[in-house]
Amino acid sequence: MSVSSTTGETSGGSWLYDPKVRSIFAQVVVVGSVVALFYFIIHNTAVNLEKRGIASGFDFLWEPARYDVTGGFLNVRSTQTHWDAFMAGLLNTFIVAVFGCLAATFLGVVMGVLRLSKNWLVSKLAAVYVETLRNVPVLLQILFWYGVFILMPKPKQSLALFDMFYFNNRQFLGPKVFFGDTPALSAAEQEAMIHRMGEVKYNKLVEASGGVENVPAALAESVKPVFGTGSWILPVSLIIAIVGVVLFRRWAKKRQENSGEQLPVFWISAGTIVLFPILCVLLSGTAVNVQYPELIGFNFVGGASIPVAFMALWFALSTYTATFVAEIVRAGILAVNYGQTEASFALGLRSGQAMRLNILPQALRVIVPPLTSQYLNLTKNSSLALVVGYPDVVGTIGGITLNQTGQAVECIVITMAVYLFFSLVISMFMNWYNKRIALVER
């Protein structure tokens, strides 16, 4: 047998049959046609944009947006720029993605474990949940939950829970906690209030309460920052607690290695992180004010509020993605040989310990890569916020800004860049985590 064909030397054959020549020719053709296609597209786009009188470039970002961004977690006025609107959209996308991933992971792990339960009824219930929700489009689920939430009563007839939590067809409200002393209502805050409720309504309110200084406390506080002066104690004590816990865990591990004695590490760490900051805040005498939502006129003022659009989106995204997470978790646990469980028991571990120290670390190796793509999917699916009017990146820069300025190319490029960036960050983080837990082979 001759090896000439693989090295590209042909003995007497035409160069037409030389794989190397053919490969170069094929690549030239492919690259050539792609370049030609791009030239065609760019040429046409330039001609079309000139005809429509649209100047390309990103200068429009610093022009007034001329639309309000509301219904998310950061309100932007129409006098602010497109860039500000974009930032608000970015924040909204970020919030829904992060909380969606957290909720989907929690619910997914619970459902995945329940589906493996020995209890027939429990595992069947989990199976029904998984099979139903994963086979229905997520867009439909978002619309469904939005349709259900906006059928709830109007703000005036809100469903109340302990006079603290209110649910109505606009938002879900709960108490808001303020740390530190809050200064009196400044001019800027007054302006913020005016923006929040409209000038006419604000003037009426001031008139009704007899002067600016008498405006209901809840209203005034609604625009105050959560962290006022003197609230530095909270983050500082939290950092101290975390550092302390890290040191404690190291010490506990060393102790266990030396003496074999185990401490309830988890409970001590969790307790320290929760209790130490609270204790510090209480002992230092930092003011802690809890503000409850209050019904004024037709709407609620004050308190922490979550828009219904966000609730519908978040709920649908997390319950939908959780079904996939559940299947991944189930597959991961099943992938660990039952001999491992038996081996743990033979070593005298309790079933919880066996799960935590033996089964789960091994299952995670199978679970993490597909879990990453579920996080990516959830982040990308959050763009469906558009259908319920939650102002995310697609709703602001990719939607209204695009339609107002006509800068289609720039807006879509920015929107896509945001998601590519999110995808990159999530994959990088999960790859790092995956490497950390991966099997160390010798």
């Binding site: 065609f40 339960s117 209890n119 009824l121 429990v122 219930l125 489009p137 689920q141 929107t415």
Partner: protein
């Protein structure tokens, strides 16, 4: 009981076999084993029963017992609306007690066909749907009566369906491109068919012809000169119907479940071959090809489908010279196919990587060309491995078709959304969306069950 003694009975002196304890057999035993085997297990059972008792009666009452199903003009105001579902409650107010399925009953035609029926030609999509079932059956199952004939029909079906649903008259170039494809693919699928040699020539010429037409179109837009038009003269603009003439139904009238199935089917049929090509490209030894494929796949997978659809509806018109208007449906189809092809490529790549290197070397040793070794040796094995992944991709694609409502196409969800915003049906979002959800569930669930069945069927020879 038989009278023959078993060996152990003979040895043991013939003590009669005793019945097992009642707590380990029968319903009681099963419950003990599966529901109440320990304290935690028992708590789980009680909680589960609690959830069922809490949810199920309410759901059943809403969906069935208190629901209104048939559209009768109950209040006699001359039209059937949500008002006909209202029931007087204890406080004397008219409210909706249960589900008002009348919405689905009244809007049935639009939910299924969109606005197709406005021409009175609903029989066309109906026949197309029956044809689809006939075409799919031999592809899904081995034991179907008249399987050979149906296979031929399945092959011709896409071309029949386009004519049946779209109708209208076509230019010669479109006819050649579209119906040329059927002739070009034919000899590749059937090894022993009459006249295969001649048809193989068509297969070879076809890509060149497409390349020529594309080149010609670019030439036309940049220089205003077209070889094709000059050569053929009036023939180039002559429009005719290749099959018996049917009235044209514009795609903006397509909608409902029919549109969902059209987008889903086109996506499924096209995304697999394109995905395979992309996957092969990504594993190619040619650096330029590999790089292009990687960029395409990673870009498409990194952005949401919605932004690609926006790109199609906002940017695509900019990409073409003025005067060329791409159909909205075609734009959506291009995006859906590209999107699912990128995902498909990654699934197929997984299969390709799972094939041992020896198989590639064996194919080379047989002196097969690259395409032949892929087509005959590698792909049949690789695709078989990743069938579950492929079907999962199909399910994802089918669910993703709902997104076309964002660029203004009215698929079944779009129709439902439009219905609940109508004054006649306000507040009936749950009914409409539950109906659409059930439709999607039926499709997706049966696809996933089929995949499991197929996996088991193909899992031969490796069983231990």
């Amino acid at each position: 009981m038989s009278d023959t003694l078993r060996p152990e009975d003979q040895l043991g002196g013939g003590l009669p076999e005793r019945a097992p304890p009642p707590s380990t057999v029968g319903i009681q035993g099963w419950m003990r084993e599966n529901l109440f085997s320990g304290p935690i297990n028992s708590i789980g059972t009680i909680v589960a029963i609690g959830i069922i008792v809490w949810l199920l009666p309410g759901i059943l009452e809403w969906a069935i017992f208190d629901a209104t199903f048939v559209g009768v003009d109950a209040n006699g105001d001359g039209s059937i609306t949500r008002k006909d579902c209202l029931v007087e409650n204890a406080a004397g107010l008219m409210t909706l007690e249960g589900a008002c399925w009348v919405l689905v009953y009244v809007r049935w035609e639009q939910l299924i066909y969109g606005f197709y029926g406005s021409d009175g030609s609903i029989w066309r999509p109906t026949i197309a749907f029956v044809g689809l079932l006939l075409a799919i059956a031999p592809l899904l199952f081995d034991k179907v009566p008249f399987r050979r004939a149906l296979l031929w029909f399945a092959f011709a079906f896409p071309f029949i369906a386009v004519w049946l649903l779209g109708g209208g008259e076509w230019k010669l170039s479109s006819v050649l491109v579209f119906y040329g494809l059927i002739v070009a693919i034919l000899p590749l699928l059937f090894d022993k068919m009459p006249g295969r040699e001649i048809l193989l020539w068509v297969t070879k010429i076809y890509p060149l012809f497409i390349a020529f037409l594309l080149f010609d179109a670019i030439l036309d837009t940049l220089l205003g000169f077209s070889i094709w038009n000059t050569l053929l003269g009036p023939l180039a603009v002559w429009e005719f119907s290749p099959l018996p003439a049917l009235a044209e139904v514009s795609t903006h009238k397509w909608g409902g479940l029919m549109l969902t199935i059209v987008i889903g089917m086109v996506g499924i049929v096209l995304s697999l071959p394109i995905g395979v090509v992309l996957a092969l490209g990504r594993r190619s030894t040619m650096p330029a090809v590999r790089l292009l494929c990687v960029i395409f796949i990673e870009f498409v997978r990194g952005v949401p489908l919605i932004t690609l659809l926006f790109m199609a509806s906002n940017m695509l018109p900019l990409f073409f010279p003025e005067g060329i208007e791409l159909d909205k449906l075609v734009r959506a189809l291009v995006v859906v196919v590209a999107f699912s092809a990128a995902y498909m490529a990654e699934v197929v790549r997984g299969g390709l990587q799972a094939i041992p290197k020896g198989q590639y070397e064996a194919a080379d040793a047989m002196a097969l060309t690259y395409w032949k070794s892929m087509y005959l040796i590698i792909l049949p094995q690789a695709l078989k491995i990743v069938i579950p992944g492929i079907v999962n991709s199909f399910i994802g694609l089918f669910k993703d078709t709902t997104l076309v409502l964002i660029i203004g196409l009215f698929d079944i969800l779009g129709m439902a959304k439009a219905a609940v915003t109508h004054a006649n049906w306000i507040g009936l979002a749950r009914e409409a969306y539950v109906f659409v959800g059930v439709v999607y569930f039926i499709f997706c669930f049966s696809m996933s069950r089929y995949s499991i069945w197929l996996e088991e069927k193909l899992n031969t020879g490796h069983k231990r």
